[in-house]
Symmetry: C2
Subunit: 212 residues, 2 copies
Amino acid sequence: MVNTLRTIPLFTVERLSIYLRTFRESLVEGMDFISSTEIGKRNDFTAAQVRKDLSCFGNFGIKGKGYNISELINTLETILGLDREWKVAIFGLGKLGGALASYKGLKNARFNVVAIFDVDPKKVDKTYKNIPVYHSDMLKKVVREKKIQIAIVAVPTDSAKATIQRILDAGIEGILNFTEARVPYPDEYIMKNINLAGELESISYYLIHSDR
Amino acid sequence: MVNTLRTIPLFTVERLSIYLRTFRESLVEGMDFISSTEIGKRNDFTAAQVRKDLSCFGNFGIKGKGYNISELINTLETILGLDREWKVAIFGLGKLGGALASYKGLKNARFNVVAIFDVDPKKVDKTYKNIPVYHSDMLKKVVREKKIQIAIVAVPTDSAKATIQRILDAGIEGILNFTEARVPYPDEYIMKNINLAGELESISYYLIHSDR
DNA sequence: GTTTAATTGTGAATTCTATCACAATCTATT
DNA sequence: AATAGATTGTGATAGAATTCACAATTAAAC
């Protein structure tokens, strides 16, 4: 029985791109089929978890053999929405914003960076890696014209909250936030926060509080 | 009753740095006390969750009033291990590695980048932002001499797996991995994976599969 | 002082996730 | 075509995390 999309566990969704990557990797290695055990081994998951996750979307496995790798790559790409092009804007052309704008993995994965926003007069109205750089005041206009769907936020801490609020106001519903600001947002939006200091702090916690 | 550290929920630990940031922010705003409700409001958590999280470590709150902000800042810094200096190495001096090495938030938070590793002869044996750059072959020696405790991995995809394996072999027990490689590791180590493409892919998933 | 309002800390209930364990079924071999 | 071995899909179970709900306590107002 196939789960309806409404009831897919959040944690399953987070793992889908890991599965996709594993399938791609094993395809490169020349494999045709891969078992849940092997997928689990490569990612430190139990085999049962892999099977349960994939079974949310259909019965893709063949008993006694495993999963057809190229079939599952297509399936997961469709499920994840990678069968279309996404229009992405980067906010903040500092070191991190520049690194993200240069990252080739994005375009390969069909996340197309079509605009960069900054407030520095020395940067705006030029291009960076062939991507036009706009002043942040142009946000609403550019978003509307270019139909931007996803924002990546890499502005300095002190302007982070205001920037994110303006992105929400402009109606961009998908946000990947690299700043330490955390801003409440409506249900129909999706925001993922990546906080470098926070990650290091929890690593610090675990290094202290494990018996070793 | 105070929880023993052994039984702190993983998710609580992840939220501690968010609480710390909230306390610092409210201190700057001139507040002395803050309630669980207000902490929750600022971060989209329920008040009950905030109270339960903080109560893992002691009874810090004052009924009718809330939490003493400067006391909690000190407490959380101690719990998270921010009362000491951590020695960090960055692996890979590309755009992302460079951005991370330049990030001032790290040093402020007592994560001190004392070494950068790369394989490019044009980069090694020089300094970057006053940080010495070593050839990756020097890994074990430098780690031993500088007592490096945390590794941040920002190397290209194709060398990621091998790099992480060598970091594990060198005995660095805390790893923050910005590559898409996922490498199984022993229990006493702690590795956190940050995967840009993966985050965007799950944003893509939610944008498609929400009724709107 | 007394009262009212605010807020904590926490057991109990609920919801969400992961694992177990095994029948069902497919492959591969002979 | 019969058998042995591998692997899936999933109901049942166990485990984790979150929320509820309220007694207990403190602050603040008068």
